[in-house]
Subunit: 165 residues, 2 copies
DNA sequence: CATATATGTCAATATGACTGACATAAAGAC
DNA sequence: GTCTTTATGTCAGTCATATTGACATATATG
């Protein structure tokens, strides 16, 4: 049970290592969302609005179904949040061309501006962490994070192809 | 704007890299919490109960203030969740010896069992991701995650504190 | 034409968060 | 020994976000 050389129980180390992983996720996510949350409060919005704005901004022209699939909430839950964003002029809906039942979602100028403002803080936080940790650590971070995601969802990455020049 | 050799805009790459970081956090956290959430539903509990059970289990004898400081919620919010857990016999409270105003928190046997059941899934998920990514990647993951946490909170790691009182 | 799909909506409910005000017991300061 | 602060709890009201279930509408597809 106890390593003769180090006097340390290797199973305990492993347990401790895994619990640190759990805690890193909790604290990183807690702090990662706290800055945008404060900005959203000024607009009377919550985190759910941020998620919608983020993914619509990231994927202009996406359908409601695609958004539901990413967020993993019910359409009734999405409905109110999305409705507010449309009513207040942050998001537009237009019928699909191939399939006119679809409502293709996109950000308005106002929506783009809010998205920029919200994501800026998170981008800055990640940029700082990446810079301080170094390129090699970033590679490791990506590998582990990808491994934490359900296998079925992994092909989603990268979410978007860089435009060709 | 465009690199002559690669034909790729380096600013775009950086933007893309940062957005992937944002998304990795979102998806990893979403999937990381989904399994325990399903178990909690059987008990009529939510994610807030899990957080309390986790941190009390991790830090037996902790005070209510310490827990509030970790969770960053109001005492009124904690009150109901903690009260339920005490009422239903998952958590015990006993007065501090040095300071009898304190209610030192700990898990009962039943609480330990539920904590084990909940955390097991998350531990397994992390163990799998660590194993697949390799030791070096894990080091990088830890560095980046720590960098994402507010500087003031970082001394919290590693979390295990010397037993007080 | 019949069925399936994409989306929306109404209603009821639950969880978990908030602010603000007030209460109590105990500790610490003077 | 009083005075003040701290640790905790509680009451009351509110809000954001999620749920399930049922039903509606428009459009696509076989």
């Amino acid at each position: 049970m106890t390593d003769i050389k180090t006097g340390i129980n290797p199973l305990f180390l492993r347990e401790e290592e895994l619990r640190q992983g759990i805690e890193l996720l909790f604290f990183a996510y807690r702090d990662f969302t706290s800055e945008p949350d404060a900005i959203l409060a000024d607009y009377g919005f919550g985190r759910a609005h941020h998620r919608v704005i983020y993914f619509v901004g990231r994927n202009p022209g996406m359908t409601v179904s695609e958004l539901l699939d990413i967020l993993r909430i019910t359409k009734q839950s999405l409905s109110r949040v999305l409705g507010q964003l449309v009513d207040e002029g942050f998001v537009t809906q237009k019928p699909g061309i191939r399939d006119r039942r679809q409502r293709l979602l996109a950000l308005t100028e106002k929506g783009i501006e809010l998205e920029r403002q919200l994501t800026e803080r998170q981008r800055a936080r990640i940029a700082r962490a990446y810079r301080e940790a170094g390129a090699e650590a970033v590679e490791g971070f990506r590998k582990v994070m990808l491994g934490l995601i359900d296998e079925a969802d992994r092909p989603r990455f990268p979410l978007r192809q860089p435009p060709r020049r």
